[in-house]
């Protein structure tokens, strides 16, 4: 491998360490936020926002998604879209139910 690659990897390593500190801090923040006495809905919202940020950091930096090829994006976009389709349609169908079952 050439020298530029080694440079590149060294730069990467710095990013990994920053990412790690961000993740650690956010973990503490999310636990702390949960002990605040906010309404359940707000609490869920805060926790999910933090989790999404953390997830993005892991996927983007550790899994190198920030610099991935188009093909991988395509696969993931379809998948995430279908996940939301599944979630939303199941929920709305069950909420729309005329006869409640449970």
């Amino acid at each position: 491998m050439e020298n530029t690659d080694v440079q590149e990897v060294k730069r990467h390593i710095r990013v990994y360490l920053y990412t790690f500190s961000a993740l650690a801090v956010l973990t503490v923040v999310t636990v702390a936020a949960a002990s605040l006495n906010v309404a359940v809905g707000t609490g869920i919202f805060i926790a999910m926002v933090i989790a999404t940020v953390k997830g993005t950091l892991v996927a983007g930096n550790f899994m190198h998604l920030f610099s991935e090829k188009k093909l991988v994006y395509l696969v993931l976009i379809i998948t995430v879209f279908l996940f939301f389709v599944m979630l939303c349609i199941i929920l709305s169908t069950i909420n729309d139910q005329v006869l409640s079952v449970s």
């Binding site: 080694v6 503490v28 949960a34 869920i44 892991v58 995430v80 069950i94």
Partner: protein, 197 residues
Amino acid sequence: MEIPYTVSPRPDTGIHNGKLGIWLFLASEVMLFGALFSTYILLRTSAIDWPLGSDNLNVPLGTFNTLILIISSVTMVMAWASLMMKDFKKYKLYMGLTIFLGILFLVVKIAFEYAPKFAHHHYPSTNTFFGIYFVLTGLHALHVLGGILVNGYFWGPGSKMWKKAPQQFINRIEIAGLYWHFVDLVWIFLFPTLYLL
């Protein structure tokens, strides 16, 4: 004819076979955990009252385990970076650490979380909250176990490949890493959902 693009990327897609393969596999995993996650939301929204995770589960241990997994993600990616810098010794060290942290996670999970739950007669059948808690974390633990086995192979017998086909070995570690980070990512969502909300 030999199978092409097992090591070097295909020019028009820019990736090699293994990488596409693992991403497709992870896509199916997204749907697997996605379905369980949907189940959680559905059970919770239709429940008359839902036990709070923080009242029933051990939050400090959960936080500890979250940190363990995050650190193991860092060591995993460092193992890959070490190989990129041709430092096989460091690779062994980081990969060994990753495996150790994975095992630590499982020990905490099983010995210090599941066992006391059972001791307090909290079983999956106790209510739907514990049901989905055990299913989600159990399935996640199985994924961790799978990751440990794969990493263990690449730490031990599998690492012989480094001498013969270094680029292919780097690819494999990258793929194992993608899987491991994904397992971490799932936990990042499971932890707040189950423990904190």
